[in-house]
Symmetry: C2
Subunit: 198 residues, 2 copies
DNA sequence: GAATTTCTGTACCGACCGCTATATAAATGC
DNA sequence: GCATTTATATAGCGGTCGGTACAGAAATTC
């Protein structure tokens, strides 16, 4: 899996940087969604032609999958808040606040790419995104289960649901301050469910 | 506006029931979203041909708009919970519970057609849906403002955000009982914000 | 050098998109 | 009857979709 190194391969070498191309694709997918951007637009933004895209990534859906993986790594700082020694409720509230801030930050693209991607029409694309959504949910559930095993599933469901709503509202244009206030209000339910400073 | 009656109009009479056709279109739009269903599929389900569709409704977007209006009326029972004499928190919690039940009910279509429609790629369709979403939000804000004017906007934002998340999870396949539990947990934030039995 | 392998650009495929030109069918007004 | 008006069915418009056949270019191995 670690043959990303520049092994001398025979044949004509690729004329573009694969990761740079992925980054351009990520920008477009995040901004317009899987169905909102076509292969032609992707190829143009990546500075290549469709055949090169298909040679390097296989298909539009496969490219999307790689982009989602890349996004998952860059969005890891969010999940990094869930360290085992953190206070459960405080960490979840911080996660909500950070999600709201991130989703409304229009310096990049609006909303969560995974959660938005999980709602599309295309079967392949939604399957990819939903699997990553489920993985994130499980991460949250495992974290909550450290101290509240009986409430882990419910709280994880609640967190994901809330983040889906936050992402939707962010994309609908809700400004950062209002989104943050809503996220904080969502945190009240966590406190009520888990209690403060447990 | 009330010329829905069977006024004798000259020319060949329409060969299909307009409202029945709308109902079929509603089913398809709700199940697959605006972008997920084409004019050909709509026309076939309505039992007509594309030209009849355009003659009767104008365009795909206009048909969608009428369908949304129809949906808004059939979904009114939900908003009917917000009567002026109802307890604020209790009514909102009941609304959440009812929304969760309705969204997960697969006897018809999954999720909220307005909230899902507000997230699409097509500019016209999302504008229609977002305007109805905003109207519903205002209805909630007005209801809350009756007794908690300073918190009306925040609580309305929170309610809409939560319902968006519920609708997304419902479409992702979350079963009714889990969805209901999450909605109830969301209600805890309302109690914390407005207090019980105010 | 030649043969092989791989990538790249042009140009295009069939399928579907929303939509409509055209001609005909079925009603009314006179 | 006849003209007018409206709705229908057939067939097809230009455009975009995801994806590719093909030939040439650029690297390797021998």
């Amino acid at each position: 899996m670690l043959d990303t190194e520049k092994i001398k391969r025979r044949g004509r070498p690729r004329g573009f940087d694969r990761d740079e191309a992925l980054e351009k694709a990520q920008t477009l997918f995040h901004a317009h969604g899987y169905e909102g951007v076509g292969v032609a637009a992707l190829a143009e933004a990546m500075g290549i032609n469709p055949p090169s895209l298909y040679a390097a990534f296989g298909s539009k859906a496969a490219l999307y999958d790689e982009v989602l993986a890349r996004y998952g790594q860059s969005a890891l700082p969010v999940m990094g808040l869930l360290t085992p020694d953190a206070d459960t409720a405080e960490a979840l509230k911080a996660l909500l606040r950070e999600a709201a801030r991130l989703y409304a930050d229009d310096s990049q693209a609006i909303g969560c790419m995974v959660l938005e991607g999980a709602r599309g029409t295309d079967a392949d694309a939604t399957r990819c995104a939903q699997s990553r959504k489920a993985a994130a949910r499980q991460q949250i559930a495992d974290f909550v289960a450290l101290r509240h095993p009986d409430k882990a599933d419910l709280v994880a469901d609640y967190m994901v649901m809330l983040m889906s709503g936050l992402s939707a509202d962010a994309r609908a244009g809700t400004p950062p301050d209002r989104l943050g206030a809503v996220a904080d209000m969502g945190g009240l339910a966590i406190e009520a469910m888990l209690g403060g400073r447990t």
